[in-house]
Structures are given as C-alpha cells and as structure tokens.
C-alpha cells in the first residue's frame, strides 16, 4: 500500500499519449494529512490495446523512490487477462487482492537483503583500495604544505 515519506528519487514517464499530472519533486514530503493520491498517470491510444501497451510502458518507466506507491499493483493489473479483455467486474480487485503481492513480500525482502549486502561489500572493498593508495602513494597535501612552511621550503 502507498505510504507517506520523502521523495528521494523521481523519474516520470514521457512520450506520445502519456501524461503525468503531479506535484512531486525530489525532496517533496508526502504527508499523511492529505489525499493519498500523489500523481495521476494518464495514457491515450487509438484502441484499448494501444492504451494498455502505453500504460505498461509508462508504468515501467515511472520511478518514485522514498515512498511506496501503487505502481506495482497497476503493473499487475495491466498484465491481467481479465483487464486486457475487459471482462472484469467489481470483485476484480478483491479477488486478486494481490495474492501475488503477499506471496512475493518475503521474496522481495530477500532480494533487498542480498542487494544491500552486495553494495556494502563493494563499498567496503572500494574503501580498502582508497585507503591503500593514500597510505602508500601520497601524503595529505595539507601536511606537505605545513611541512614545507615549517622547514622554510626545504624537504
């Protein structure tokens, strides 16, 4: 479900037949005290199929970081044969009720854990390399300047 928070990353979809109505920007705080709708994504096509394809592409391009959004829900809806054929009814959402969403929550947590560990590992390795090169190759230029001043220009 969508939640409040600060938008840390934003990339909106563009292109023919795609329009975004939104007041979001990077650093914007989505408060809990107003309408939970933070943006409207509208697509247009000559046919329903074209509109669905455009909506799929637009949803794939839409990136909002820092807050949870209903983009995954809408992506799932665009992939639903019921929705594509237009044979859904009022129980469509409750039936789907994101069974898949519940199922994949643990899987997504596991992916997040692996990704974070890999990034931390890479950052640690980079820090070691930087530390090595600083120690072995050159000293701080501030220290060098101070030493030069103290020794009257002699090394």
């Amino acid at each position: 479900m969508p939640n409040g928070g600060v938008v840390t990353y934003l990339k909106e979809p563009t292109g023919p037949g795609v329009r975004v109505e939104s007041a979001l920007y990077r650093g914007y705080e989505v408060s809990l005290f107003y309408d939970p709708m933070v943006a409207k994504l509208i697509v247009w096509g000559e046919t329903r199929a074209e509109a669905i394809l455009r909506m799929r592409r637009a949803l794939n391009e839409y990136r909002i970081g820092g807050i949870k959004t209903s983009i995954p829900f809408h992506q799932e809806m665009m992939d639903s044969t019921e929705f594509i054929w237009g044979t859904f009814d009022t129980s469509f959402i409750s039936r789907r009720k994101l069974i898949a969403g519940e199922r994949s929550a643990d899987e997504h947590a596991r992916i997040a854990a692996v990704a974070a560990a890999l990034i931390a590992h890479e950052a640690g390795r980079r820090a070691v390399h930087i530390g090595d090169s600083n120690g072995a190759v050159k000293q701080s230029q501030w220290k060098q300047a101070g030493r030069m001043r103290a020794t009257g220009g002699r090394w």
Partner: protein, 61 residues
C-alpha cells in the same frame, strides 16, 4: 565476509566469499550491475531479473 541484513522484521545472513553468495546458508546465483541511472541497479537472482533502487543513509540501504 558475512553480513547481517534486517528488512522490516525479517533478518537474513548473507555471506559473500570468492564470488559466491549464500543467503541463510543457501547458495544463490546472483549478479548485480548498475543501470546507468544513479542508485538504480539491475539484479539477477536465480535466473529472475529485478530492478532495485538503492539509497545509502549512513550505512543503511
């Protein structure tokens, strides 16, 4: 190197050694690469592709 990752209420132990990644002792086939957009990564886990947005805040990802 062993990492303890906490995601919400779930905890995982991720071990990274010699290019191998184990999650809670289970070997996983994983590949992480940058997408070209800062903070946005592409990750392949056991043949499935995902896109992840990773931000660091004082060693919290």
């Amino acid at each position: 190197m062993k990492y303890y990752a906490q995601v919400g209420e779930l905890e995982y132990v991720v071990e990274i050694e010699d290019g191998n990644v184990l999650v809670d002792g289970e070997l996983v086939d994983v590949d992480l690469s940058r997408s070209g957009v800062p903070e946005l990564y592409s990750i392949l886990i056991n043949g499935h592709s995902y896109e992840v947005l990773i931000e660091e805040q004082r060693q919290i990802y």
